[in-house]
Amino acid sequence: MIDLTVNARPVQIDASEDTALLWVLREHLGLTGTKFGCGAGMCGACTVHVDGIPTFACLTAVGDVAGAAVTTIEGLGAGQGAGQGEEPEGEADHPLKRAWVAEQVPQCGYCQSGQIMRAAALLEENPDPSRQEILESMSTNLCRCGTYNRIVKAVQRAAREA
C-alpha cells in the first residue's frame, strides 16, 4: 500500500511502486480529468502538481510520490471557491477554469486539463506573464486543435482577474 494525498484527501493505493501515477489517478481513483497522451513526457496532457510542482504523471512512479500531495484538475482551486473544498469532483473553482470558459479555449478539450495545470504553475511563479513568457512556459503542452493563442488570452485574463 502506498499512501499519498490527492486533492487534499489521503488515499491508499494498492499498486506496485513502479506504476505510473497517471494510471493510479485515472484508473484506480477515477480521476479521469488527467489525460493520457503520449506516456513519454512529450505532450503534457497528464500534467498534475506534485507538492506544487508541475509534473508529468505518465513518467512519475507512484512509489516516488509516496507521502506527497498531488493536485489534479479536479482539485485545482478546491478550498478557494465558496465550497471550501467540499465541491463535487471537477467542480472546484479556479480563475483559470473561469478564464478558459470566458475565452472559449477548448475545442476537443482533451489537452486542456494539462494546459490549465501547467498555466496554474506558471501563474504561481509569475503572476503577470507576457505573451512570450506564456508561450515558452506552455510549450511543454501540445494542443492538436491549435488553441494556443486562446490559451495565451485565457492565461492573461486569469492573471488580470485572479
Binding site: 494510471w23 471537477g90 477548448p106 476537443c108 494542443c143 491549435g146
Partner: protein, 741 residues
C-alpha cells in the same frame, strides 16, 4: 475517494446529457426527415419512448425543456452546439431551456443529406448539410405550436406570434409557453408544408450569428468531460494489443508465459492482426504486452513498402505522360491551350505521409452480452453508421442488440472515419473472449505505428502563359493512391474511380481558368490511409498555389496581381485577396522577414492567407512569425467558434508544412511518438489575424477552410525571402538547407 459508478460514466457530459422525463409528464415529440418535419405526437415520456422516440429529433416537455438531438458527433468542431442552435432559431426556442441529446444509433432518418443519409461527421459538412433540414423542421414545429395555441384561443393563426419559448396573442395579451402547449390536452393539427419564404429572414436571427458559448466548453475546462478512454464500468478489465508490425503479417508462434506471469493478467486473446493481453489493471496489461514473445510471418507484400522508394515511383508516374490518369476535373481544352501558349511552365511537387496526431489515442470499451450477440459499447468515432456496422459485423448480430454510446472525441481530424474500426473490433473480441467488459487503450506508439495516414503524393503542374503573361491552360497531375478504396470499400463501390479524398482541391474552382485538367494518377497503396483534415486540398492546394507564384514570377507579375487577374468572375474571392493584402501590408520589401500569399479553400468556402516567415540560414529552421487570413464561408452560425476553427485549421496547416512527416521502411512505420513525429508547439505559433467576410450565401463549412492555403503561403514567403523554392512538404530544416544550397 469515490470511484465513478457506471451511471455517471454513461451519462457523458452536462452538455450532452440524456434527459429522462418524469413519469406522466406531457411532451410533444417531433420526427424529422431530410425534407423537414414529418410527424408529431403527444405522449407521456413512457409512451414517447415506445412510439416516436426512436425517431424524435425534437421533444418539447411540459416542464419547458426542449430536447434537440445532435445527429453528428463531436470531436472539437463545435457542431454539438451549432446544429441544435439552428433548429432552436427557427423554433424560437428559449436557448437556456434547450438540452442537447447525442444521437447514439445508426438511424438514417437523422443522416446527413450530403452523405446520402449516412451518419458521418466529416468534410466540414455538419452545418452545411443539415442547415435546411433543421431550419425547416424548427419552423414547422413553431408553426404547429402556434396553431395549437390559436385553436385553443379560437383566434386566427395569423394573429399569433412567438417570443422565445412562448406563443403570444398580442390583441388579447394572452400567452402560452411551449411547455404549456405541450401539456394541453388538445387535438394535434397536421404538419404544415412551409417554404423558404416562411423561414426567418437573417435580420431576424437572435441565435445564429451571435457569440453564444459552446455547450461543451465548461466540462472541457474543468476535467469533467468524458471521452471513451475515460469510461469505467463495473467488472471492467483492460486490454493492450501487440499488433503485427507489418500489415498483413500474422503471429506464427506466441510465447505468452512471461506475460501471463504478470500479476493481474487474466489471459491473452488472439486477434486477426495481433495479440491482446487482458488484465485487471491497465498497467498490468501494458507491462505484460511488452513481455509477449511473438514470431511473425514474413510473407506479406507490405514488407517491401518503403516511403522513399514509393515517392520516387509516384514522381515517375506523375512525370510519365503516357501513364493515363483518372480525370478529376476538366474544363475547356487544357492540352490545346498549353500547346498554343507562348511559354510553358512546369514544376513538380511532393508531399509526405502525415499522421493525425489527435491527442486522445484510440480507445474503446465494450461489454459483450453472455450470448456473444449483443453488447453495450462506448466509443468516439465520426460515424454512428460505420461504428454500428463494425459492431454488428464483428458480433454477427443486428443493431437492436447494441447499446451504443457515442463519446466526445479527443480530436480526430479524419482518423475515426473508416468503414471498419479496428480499435473497436478489438474491444469487442476481447470482451467476448473474457466474458467481461473490456477497455482497449492504444499507446501513443500504437497510435503512430498503426495510424491511417494522409497519403504521400507526387504532383506535376504544367501551365501555359501567353505573350502578355496571361494564364493559358492548367494541367495538374496528382500521383497518389486512392484513399477511399482503402478506408471505405463500400463507398468506393459508389464513387469509383473518382476519389474526392485523394483529389479535392485540384479542381481549382475559385479561379476563372478556362482550360483546366486535373487528373488522378492512381498508384499502389503502400500504407494505411484515411482522410486527414482538408483531405486532398492539404497537398493539392500547396502545389497549385506554390505553382501559381511560379507562374506569376515567369509572367513578371506580382503574385497578388496575377491572382486577381484570374478572379474577374469571383468578386467574393477578389475581395478576400484584397482584404488580406490590406491586413498584412502586402507589397512591403522583404527584410528579415518576407510575406507569401495563397488563395485556396475547402468545398465552397474560400480563404486567402498571407504568411510572414523568418529563417535561420545556418540551421535551416523556418519560422512563421505572423499569419493573416480572410475567409468567406457564407453564413456564419457561430462566429467565435468559426474563428477558433479557422485558427485551428491554420495551425494544423503550419504544423504540417513545417514539421510533419511519416516514413515507412520495410513495411514498418519509422516514427513512434511525439518526439519523432513533432507537431507545432506553443512557442512556434504565430499571432494569427482572421477576418470573416460574411456573405449572403448558405453556410459552407469552417472546419477545414483554414488549412489548404497555409503550406503554399509559407513556401511563397520563403521564395520572397530567399529567391528559392520549396517543393516538398514538409519544409524540414534539411530540405530548407537543400533549397538554399
Amino acid at each position: 475517494m469515490r470511484r465513478n459508478n457506471n451511471t455517471e460514466t454513461v451519462s457523458a457530459t452536462p452538455a450532452l446529457s440524456r434527459r429522462g422525463f418524469l413519469a406522466g409528464t406531457a411532451a410533444l415529440t417531433f420526427a424529422i426527415g431530410s425534407g423537414g418535419l414529418v410527424a408529431v405526437a403527444r405522449a407521456t415520456a413512457a409512451a414517447a419512448d415506445k412510439t416516436l422516440k426512436p425517431n424524435a429529433w425534437l421533444t418539447i416537455a411540459g416542464d419547458e425543456t426542449v430536447t434537440i438531438v445532435f445527429p453528428s458527433t463531436e470531436m472539437g468542431q463545435g457542431s454539438s452546439t451549432a446544429l441544435p442552435l439552428i433548429l432552436a432559431e427557427e423554433l424560437d426556442a428559449d436557448w437556456d431551456r434547450v438540452v442537447i441529446d447525442q444521437l447514439d444509433r445508426d438511424d438514417r432518418n437523422f443522416g446527413n443529406p450530403i452523405f446520402g443519409g449516412v451518419l458521418y461527421t466529416a468534410g466540414s459538412t455538419g452545418v452545411y448539410g443539415y442547415f435546411d433540414t433543421l431550419r425547416k423542421a424548427g419552423a414547422q414545429a413553431r408553426r404547429l405550436l402556434m396553431q395549437i395555441a390559436a385553436d385553443a384561443w379560437s383566434v386566427p393563426l395569423d394573429s399569433v406570434a412567438t417570443e422565445p419559448g412562448a406563443v403570444i396573442h398580442s390583441a388579447s395579451g394572452r400567452r402560452l409557453s411551449y411547455g404549456e402547449i405541450a401539456a394541453l390536452n388538445a387535438p394535434l393539427p397536421a404538419v404544415a408544408e412551409i417554404g423558404e419564404e416562411d423561414l426567418k429572414p437573417r435580420s431576424a436571427y437572435r441565435l445564429i450569428g451571435q457569440d453564444l458559448p459552446r455547450r461543451d466548453v465548461p466540462a472541457k475546462s474543468n476535467g469533467s468531460e468524458r471521452y471513451a478512454i475515460d469510461v469505467w464500468v463495473p467488472g471492467m478489465a483492460y486490454a493492450a494489443v501487440l499488433r503485427s508490425p507489418v500489415e498483413g503479417e500474422t503471429a506464427v508462434e506466441v510465447d505468452d508465459a512471461a506475460a501471463l506471469a504478470v500479476s493481474g493478467v487474466l489471459q491473452t486473446v488472439r486477434l486477426p492482426d495481433g495479440i491482446a493481453v487482458v488484465a485487471e489493471r491497465l498497467e498490468a496489461a501494458l507491462a505484460a504486452k511488452a513481455l509477449l514473445e511473438v514470431t511473425w510471418s514474413e510473407t506479406a507484400a507490405a514488407r517491401s513498402y518503403d516511403s522513399a522508394a514509393d515517392l520516387s515511383g509516384y514522381a515517375a508516374a506523375a512525370a510519365d505522360s503516357a501513364r493515363e490518369g483518372v480525370t478529376w476535373a476538366a474544363k475547356g481544352d487544357a492540352p490545346a491551350a498549353i500547346a498554343g501558349a507562348a511559354r510553358v511552365v512546369e514544376a513538380d511537387y511532393r508531399s509526405d505521409y502525415a499522421y493525425h496526431a489527435q491527442m486522445e489515442p484510440m480507445a474503446a470499451v465494450a461489454a459483450v452480452d453472455p450470448d456473444g450477440r449483443g453488447a453495450e459499447v462506448w466509443v468516439g468515432t465520426q460515424t454512428q453508421s460505420w461504428t454500428m456496422r463494425t459492431i454488428t459485423e464483428v458480433l454477427d448480430t443486428t443493431a437492436d442488440r447494441i447499446r451504443l454510446h457515442m463519446m466526445t472525441m479527443g480530436g480526430s481530424f479524419g482518423r475515426r472515419t473508416a468503414l471498419t474500426q479496428e480499435y473497436l473490433r478489438d474491444a469487442l473480441l476481447t470482451s467476448k473472449a473474457v466474458g467481461r467488459p473490456v477497455k482497449v487503450v492504444w499507446t501513443r506508439e500504437d497510435d503512430v505505428k498503426f495510424g491511417w495516414f494522409r497519403p504521400a503524393t507526387a504532383q506535376r503542374l504544367r501551365a501555359g502563359l501567353t505573350a502578355e503573361g496571361r494564364l493559358s491552360g492548367w494541367h495538374h497531375r496528382v500521383a497518389t493512391p486512392s484513399v477511399i478504396a482503402y478506408f471505405n470499400p463500400l463507398r468506393w463501390d459508389q464513387v469509383e474511380p473518382k476519389d474526392i479524398i485523394s483529389m479535392r482541391g485540384s479542381e481549382n474552382k475559385f479561379y476563372g481558368i478556362a482550360d483546366l485538367h486535373a487528373e488522378h494518377v492512381v498508384t499502389e497503396r503502400h500504407a494505411r490511409l484515411a482522410p486527414w483534415r482538408a483531405i486532398g486540398a492539404s497537398y493539392t492546394s500547396f502545389a497549385a498555389e506554390a505553382f501559381m507564384d511560379e507562374l506569376a514570377e515567369a509572367a513578371g507579375s506580382d503574385p497578388l496581381d496575377f491572382r486577381l487577374g484570374l478572379l474577374d468572375d469571383n468578386p467574393r474571392g477578389r475581395e478576400l485577396l484584397q482584404r488580406v493584402a490590406g491586413m498584412a501590408g502586402w507589397g512591403r520589401a522583404p527584410g528579415e522577414t518576407a510575406l507569401g500569399l495563397a488563395f485556396a479553400g475547402y468545398g465552397d468556402s474560400m480563404a486567402a492567407g498571407i504568411a510572414e516567415v523568418s529563417l535561420d540560414r545556418d540551421s535551416g529552421r523556418l519560422a512563421v512569425t505572423r499569419f493573416w487570413a480572410a475567409v468567406d464561408a457564407g453564413l456564419i452560425v457561430a462566429p467565435d467558434n468559426a474563428l477558433a476553427q479557422i485558427e485551428g485549421g491554420i495551425v494544423f496547416g503550419l504544423s504540417s508544412a513545417l514539421k510533419e512527416r511519416i516514413t515507412v521502411e520495410g513495411g514498418e512505420v519509422v516514427q513512434s511518438n511525439y518526439y519523432d513525429y513533432e507537431i507545432l508547439r506553443a512557442d512556434e505559433v504565430p499571432e494569427i489575424d482572421i477576418q470573416l467576410q460574411v456573405s449572403d450565401g448558405p453556410p459552407t463549412g469552417i472546419g477545414e477552410v483554414g488549412t489548404p492555403m497555409v503550406a503554399a503561403a509559407v513556401a511563397n514567403a520563403f521564395h520572397a525571402l530567399t529567391g528559392r523554392r520549396l517543393r516538398h512538404l514538409p519544409f524540414t530544416p534539411e530540405r530548407v538547407l537543400e533549397a538554399l544550397a
